[in-house]
């Protein structure tokens, strides 16, 4: 059932400073209406391998703790496990991050923000799912508000098992992700572009009040 839009999302008339009246439609993405396209790597394979090597050694994680596993990301960045030694770093904005860690269950409200953050990240981007909740629903298999399989909504490169995987397991997972990237098999972004409609239909089936552009650049 179509929910009536929030007041600030309806189309409204705005008078500019120079007196010109124009119409603003908040839901339309003025910046770019195009859908994502498949981004191919550099033409020469050597250059692509070199870039992949550089991408694997500087994993910038988006600082968005979506679930309960985020508390084990904190020891990673502090003295005891010190992920900086492996070139892993926190970035506060999705623009500069190339790794999105979905740390455990994902409620529908957070899924909507996670999708938007994922779409704003730049092209070679990777997603790692932590814990059993991203594989098959985990402990909340019968909950009405959490998603059961993460790969229905986002292309996931890697799963780390554990009901809250330990920091050592996280580091081992990131090492495996590095091998995947160096082998050039971590192409989640292109997969998202190819099966875009399938992902969008899954997302819209779960998020009922869809009041944002289809692909938020």
């Amino acid at each position: 059932m179509e929910q009536e839009l929030k007041p600030e999302l309806q189309i409204r008339k705005v008078k500019g400073p120079d007196g010109v009246e124009f119409e603003v439609e908040p839901l339309r993405d003025y910046y770019c209406e195009a859908l994502p396209t498949v981004q191919h790597g550099a033409y020469i394979q050597i250059v692509e391998d070199f870039f992949n090597w550089a991408r694997s050694h500087s994993l910038w994680i988006l600082g968005f703790g979506t679930g309960c596993g985020a508390i084990e990301m904190r020891p990673l960045m502090t003295p005891r496990f010190d992920a900086y030694r492996y070139g892993i770093q926190w970035r506060p904005t999705p623009r500069q991050a190339n790794l999105l860690v979905i740390s455990g269950y994902l409620s529908v409200k957070t899924l909507k923000r996670a999708i938007r953050a994922y779409e704003q990240m730049q092209s070679p981007k990777y997603v790692v799912g932590l814990g059993s909740c991203t594989i098959n629903g985990g402990m909340y298999w019968d909950s009405y508000n959490t998603i059961k399989r993460l790969d229905d909504y986002m292309p996931v490169d890697l799963y780390i098992v554990g009901c809250m995987p330990r920091p050592e397991a996280l580091l081992a997972g990131f090492e495996d992700l590095k091998k995947l990237i160096r082998a050039g098999k971590a192409e989640g972004a292109n997969q998202y572009a190819e099966k875009f409609d399938w992902y969008k239909s899954n997302q819209k089936r779960v998020i009922h009040d869809w009041d944002m552009p289809d692909y938020s650049w």
């Binding site: 909507k112 629903g137 019968d142 009405y144 059961k148 009922h208």
Partner: protein
């Protein structure tokens, strides 16, 4: 607890006191006398701290039960007031003017149980669920498993066998 209950019974037609522990008792209050009882407890009896306002859904008796739990800081005693009212068109008067924090409780009960508190501030704003299109989820007649099966798809390849049936088929295949 008994002394408090007797004092209250002189003023308001209360139900029986069930004493769970020496410092915790629950008593049923008719809906009309709820506000005066709360005011009396808060101002004269020293029960100033509203600990909890929650609802219990007695589906088979077709009743909602609202529990107001008050705690007296000096003596350390708690008293729970139970109010029962029918489930259809459930509504209860708002007490946000007695305790400002009650507004948050009432917002959650409106969204989770569908109990209406006319006059409570920001009552119909979305509090926890966003874009919810089913009946309020905490009611007993909302089946969360059926909803989860309908909206999210599980990973295939999961089937189980009942040990008893399986043994019967294996040991006595022709059911002799």
């Amino acid at each position: 607890m008994r002394a408090l209950h007797i004092r209250l019974q002189h003023l308001f037609p209360l139900g029986e006191l069930t004493e769970q522990r020496p410092d915790l008792g629950f008593v049923t209050v008719p809906a009309a006398y709820l506000r005066p009882t709360l005011l009396h407890l808060r101002d004269r009896e020293g029960y100033t701290h509203l600990v909890l306002l929650t609802a219990v859904d007695w589906l088979e008796e077709d009743l909602f039960q609202l529990t107001y739990l008050l705690s007296n800081r000096s003596t350390g005693c708690d008293i729970g007031l139970r109010v029962k009212f029918p489930r259809q068109a459930a509504h209860m008067e708002s007490i946000h003017d007695l305790w400002p924090t009650a507004a948050t409780y009432q917002r959650e009960l409106r969204e989770m149980f569908g109990i209406d508190f006319p006059g409570s501030p920001r009552l119909h704003e979305e509090f926890i669920l966003e874009g919810w299109n089913d009946i309020p989820p905490y009611r007993r007649d909302f089946d969360t498993l059926k909803y989860a099966r309908a909206n999210y798809n599980d990973r295939p390849g999961r089937e189980t066998h009942d040990p008893e049936q399986h043994m019967k088929q294996q040991l006595y295949p022709d059911g002799a």
